[in-house]
């Protein structure tokens, strides 16, 4: 389990090609459809592609990626993505179980056994940070 290292060297990260492949292909499709969509729409498509890439790269090995892929396959037009601005932010009461907050953040988190919650969190963070690094790399290179 590689989850112990929060900042793996990107160049030695074996999942990176999978992640990049899928995301790059999606960006290409989005780019070609550029004329018909607004910047905001395109931003949402890009964001969605980011999470799909993560889920595809992780495949069915992880509960969080299975949960995400399942949601995507339902082809919900109003797919609620993590971090959507329209999401209702609940006020965390002092008594609220901290683990419950984590369960809400993690795809499929509500249904997990507590013992697997940590493993899933480690995996999710790993893929999420890899995705962020990938997007940052693309942005940096586009700036020239």
């Amino acid at each position: 389990m590689k989850g112990g290292n929060p900042n793996p060297n990107p160049n030695s990260n074996p999942k990176k090609p999978l992640l990049a492949n899928h995301f790059i292909q999606a960006l290409t499709r989005i780019n070609l459809a550029a004329q018909t969509s607004s910047t905001r729409q395109r931003s949402h498509c890009i964001k969605r592609a980011a999470y799909v890439s993560m889920a595809c790269a992780a495949g069915s090995r992880r509960a969080w990626s299975r949960a995400m892929l399942q949601k995507i396959r339902l082809r919900s037009r109003v797919l609620r993505l993590p971090g959507d601005r329209r999401s209702i932010v609940s006020v965390v009461r002092r008594e609220e179980n901290r683990a419950d907050v984590l369960r809400k953040l993690l795809p499929g988190g509500q249904a997990m056994e507590f013992s697997s919650l940590l493993e899933e969190t480690a995996s999710y963070i790993q893929y999420l940070s890899a995705q962020v690094r990938l997007m940052q790399t693309i942005v940096d290179s586009m700036f020239g």
Partner: protein
Amino acid sequence: MSGRRSRNITEEEINELISKLQSLLPETRRRGAGRASATKLLKETCNYIKSLHREVDDLSDRLSNLMATMDTNSAQAEIIRSLLRS
């Protein structure tokens, strides 16, 4: 801790939880080792995930804007070039 387990969590499991959570966070978010509580670390982990979600949001916006300012072919070339650089 979540009450979903049918038995009490042992001291050892708590320590394992603490070290595991600590290892998930980048250096800047870690507190002094040994002083952090599991609750605090869980909170930091949640904050970290939220900040990563915000970064994905922000980078999506930036990518979208960049694509808007470039013509299709240039953007295409840059996207592919960036893959080679990554």
